[in-house]
């Protein structure tokens, strides 16, 4: 049971708002020592896995392009574009993005959109622009709320769309692990059974995004008072 001490370190560290990098290293060392490993072996295991997961950081390659376009006014342009469309509101726009994200993820195009690729340069400014036009100005608090909701639309769409695609990592993991236990399942049936939860996710989060507009109106009235 002693290796569980690492989980304790994580929970305490995050709750105490210590820098997460320090919490993670402390948790790795505590877990390793509890499992009777030498500190050097733990550091080597950690370094190896860190190095092998470099692929998650490929997205940072986008920073020079996005930065350059932002320098030339990309976010401002995104705001202007949406500000002109009467029917556009922050909530409606994010519902559309949620649907788009879910459908493209279901087609296997997971890296098409993302926080660095689309949310920061396009979706968040568009949603802010739409709310700004409708409410005539935005408080800092409302602006941050819109951004957080924009990120949430991306996450929910990606998580609950990707499993409908056959060749995604999680489907292969389910198939592979059940196979180890002697149970054969077809990847297609796994994908199909992801559809009910995907629809439910769209309804639940879609309704919450839709209600964002009312929430923003309330916030701006409260602040005006």
């Amino acid at each position: 049971m002693w290796p569980l001490i690492g989980i304790g370190v994580i929970i305490t560290g995050f709750a105490a708002r210590v820098n997460p990098l320090i919490v993670i290293i402390a948790a790795a060392l505590a877990t390793g020592i509890a499992a009777h490993q030498s500190p050097l072996a733990i550091i080597a295991t950690f370094g190896k896995a860190y190095n092998e997961s470099r692929y998650v950081s490929i997205v940072w390659l986008i920073l020079p392009v996005i930065g350059l376009l932002e320098r030339e006014g990309l976010q401002e342009r995104a705001r202007m574009l949406v500000g002109r469309v009467r029917a556009a509101t922050a909530g409606r726009l994010l519902v559309v993005y949620l649907a788009l994200r879910q459908v493209t993820a279901a087609l296997g195009l997971l890296s098409l959109f993302g926080h660095a690729q689309t949310v920061r340069p396009l979706i968040a400014p568009m949603a802010e622009g739409a709310a700004e036009t409708r409410l005539g100005g935005l408080s800092e608090k409302s602006r941050m709320l819109i951004r957080a909701y924009a990120a949430s639309a991306d996450n929910v769409g990606a998580f609950f769309g990707e499993d409908i695609f056959l060749a995604v990592g999680s489907i292969l993991l389910i198939k592979g692990f059940l196979q180890q236990l002697g149970i054969l399942v077809a990847p297609l049936s796994l994908s199909l059974w992801a559809i009910p939860s995907a629809l439910l996710a769209f309804v639940i989060h879609g309704v919450r995004l839709w209600r964002l507009d009312a929430k923003l109106t309330r916030q701006s009235k409260d602040e005006a008072r």
Binding site: V65, G73, L112
Partner: protein, 318 residues
């Protein structure tokens, strides 16, 4: 053959260039910490494959020491003012979206085409990694197109990348750190220990109780580990297969899929899933690092209840 390694070289060169710009930016007091942090990250991408596990581990310790001691921070960046951006946005018009849209278009085409292109009988790109290579290719072409069109100084893209990377700061390496922690947990048998506790303490005599325990366990364990992939083998071996499938006769495909999606509900609620929850908060410059998680929690709870209901209804019927 072009593989991920060549993409890593590009990223490594980008971070080295950011480090050089940080080195030259003496106007603020964290210039040295920033130079060291981005420089080490560059070294990790350029040479990580050849320096060995222990050296990589020591490099990570150095990154943690720099970020944890507060030696890094936002540099003073030469960029355009808000007024200038507004004027340029009007002048460039909607063409500004062009390079940004070029990335996904090339990424899609590349994903389907790259694996098929052969030179002298060898594949041009690693067929297993076409998606990520195509994404990198799309980014490179978009950058070249934007440079040719906008004609900024050659420093501009790196200086702008530094603006964004300084904004993200240490959160940029958090996803890789958590993946590495997962590996240490796996080596030390943390998963089995959690599984043992789950089976010892949870009431599992009724089929619906087993379903609820499995789904809630997936969500909870995922939020602790930050990754549904780590939770799935443990919970499925402990509860899913022995109880839901073998004892109560449930369908393994439905159990597995909805179980995994219950885990994803946990992903929405945890700072451990850094690339989905903490990195965006940094990227969007939210003052509260848990700002994204806070708006996701109600959806996660409602969806977990929904998944339990769906599995209870479907798993024993098919």
């Amino acid at each position: 053959m072009i593989g991920l390694e060549q993409v890593y070289w590009l990223i490594g060169m980008m971070f080295i260039a950011i480090a050089v710009q940080s080195w030259r930016d003496r106007s603020h007091r964290k210039w040295l910490g920033n130079t060291a942090f981005w420089g080490l990250l560059g070294i990790s991408f350029l040479f990580g494959t050849i320096i060995g596990s222990l050296a990589n581990g020591i490099l990570v310790l150095a990154l943690v020491a720099l970020a944890g001691s507060g030696a890094t921070g936002l540099g003073s960046i030469r960029t355009t003012s808000a007024v200038a951006r507004d004027a340029r946005a009007r002048r460039h018009g909607n063409w500004l979206f062009g390079p940004a849209l070029l990335i996904p278009v090339i990424a899609i085409i590349g994903t389907f085409m790259l694996g098929r292109i052969q030179l002298w009988g060898f594949p041009l790109a690693d067929p297993k990694e076409t998606t990520l290579i195509a994404l990198a290719l799309g980014i490179a072409i978009a950058l070249i197109a934007a440079m040719l069109w906008l004609r900024p100084s050659l420093h501009a893209p790196i200086e702008e990348a530094r603006r964004l990377s300084d904004t993200i700061g240490w959160a940029a390496v958090l996803p890789q750190m958590l993946a590495a922690l997962g590996a240490v947990f796996a080596v030390c048998g943390v998963g089995q220990a959690v599984g043992q506790i789950a089976t010892t303490w949870l009431p599992l005599s009724h089929p619906l109780a087993a379903v609820a325990a499995y789904c809630i366990g997936m969500a909870f364990f995922t939020s602790v580990m930050g990754n549904a992939f780590a939770a799935f083998p443990v919970m499925t071996a402990a509860i899913g297969v022995p109880l839901i499938v073998e004892k109560f006769g449930g369908d393994p495909a439905i159990m597995g899929t909805i179980g995994m999606l219950s885990g994803f509900c946990g992903t929405l609620t945890t700072p451990m899933a850094a690339n989905f929850n903490i990195v965006p908060a940094a990227l969007l410059e939210l003052p509260d690092r848990n700002g994204v998680i806070k708006v996701q929690i109600p959806t996660a709870i409602a969806l977990l209840i929904g998944n339990i209901a769906l599995m209870s209804f479907l798993v024993f019927r098919f």
